[in-house]
Subunit: 243 residues, 2 copies
């Protein structure tokens, strides 16, 4: 909840008075040709109107008409491991943060430590994503924009999050398993292929492609700057810009 | 994030102009004694200044000086089962909601279903409270007031939440096990005494009283209305009222 301080009202009164009194003095001078009269009327006006302006501002501070909230939304990055979700989501978060919007960043790597008992079986991943969905929805409902990046390989769990949200933007990181393997500096794919990991999307469980994502990112064709721009444009168009 | 619409600026311009032009006309009339001149100057001023005022408002819309956020906080109700936490927290929530503040209500009964695997052993309860603390802190950080009610019988877990928070208000529901037993319409105490429940605070595990709660509620002496009033006064004094 925002409010305006009395100091703001005082500065606005002075700022307004500077412009307005000059205008009045010019009008009086044009009509009477009397320079002294124009100055005297201007001077009296300065005092009377500055006080009046202050109280006018304080009154309007109590009137909510025409004050609007920028609608919040959940932007959800989904894609294979090492498809570049985290980097792109971070870039989008930074942009939104710069615009002084209220925005929270949730990445699987930050959320999992809060639930150390959560494993990687399809049931556990589904529950993990749904739980995160509840959290996202609670933030969104309270006016916070959420930038979330989760592999979230199952359509059903993503749809659950979509249904919890008021405004949901699904971003699909379109790429191939091969390209991800090459990007994978941590060797997760290799470990999964050697059987060290189980339920690894793209290796031994399927990554279910989104059916109707709001945004599709051509990971192997566009630079991260281009993709960030594509997403920010969509968000400005649909949510951020004044209507 | 709030913004002001162009319509608001237009209405403010008209509202201001009504007051301001009458003042100008009166000043001109007093000095010149000419009624027609006062009206003419007033008329020209209406047009010139209304346009000027509109742009002045749009300019100030971009200036953040003197716009403040009401600080958010976490208000945490702790006490024995059936000590009346939920009812009092609900009443406080309703009051804050009425004041158009951004506020979220978290009760153990709503949060537990999200984590069906969480039991009631001291370790699990501790983890449950800490996890909730993370959630509360995330909401608080994003400008949301959180009204939370959890038995939270262990000092250590409550202190963890306190440390996560920026502004933490611990409300201790002071009462006795006997009084809670009498209030307990669901028969939880009886079941715990018969050994059906384990780790039931006040029966087979200790409820650790808060050492330095911000607010202590004398559950058996004050009505719910009085206690709500006591809490709201504290919150207005410390957070809500303009500084």
């Amino acid at each position: 909840m925002q409010y305006e301080t009395k100091k703001r009202s005082i500065f606005k009164a002075i700022s307004w008075r500077t412009w307005a009194t000059v205008t009045t003095a010019i009008i009086v001078f044009i009509f009477t040709g009397e320079f002294a009269l124009a100055i005297t009327i201007g001077f009296l006006e300065v005092i009377a109107k500055m006080i009046l302006y202050f109280f006018h501002e304080r009154l309007w501070q109590k009137i909510n008409y025409g004050k609007k909230e920028i609608p919040s939304f959940i932007i959800w990055f989904t894609g294979l491991p090492a498809s570049g979700k985290k980097a792109l989501a971070d870039a989008v978060y930074q942009q939104l943060h710069k615009e002084k919007l209220k925005v929270e960043r949730l990445d699987s790597l930050d959320v999992r430590p809060l639930f150390p008992e959560t494993g990687f079986s399809p049931t556990e991943v589904d529950r993990h994503v749904k739980r995160t969905g509840h959290l996202c929805a609670m933030l969104e409902k309270n006016g916070v924009i959420v930038v979330a990046s989760f592999v979230s390989p199952y359509q059903q769990s993503r749809d659950f999050v979509r249904n919890q949200a008021t405004n949901f933007v699904e971003v699909y990181m379109k790429t191939t398993v091969e390209a991800c393997q090459q990007r994978d500096t941590k060797g997760h794919y290799a470990k999964a292929q050697q059987g060290e990991y189980h339920y690894f999307p793209g290796v031994d469980v399927e990554y279910e492609k989104p059916l109707q994502p709001e945004i599709t990112i051509e990971v192997d064709k566009a630079t991260i700057e281009e993709s960030t721009q594509q997403i920010i444009c969509y968000l400005k168009e649909n949510f951020i810009n004044e209507k």
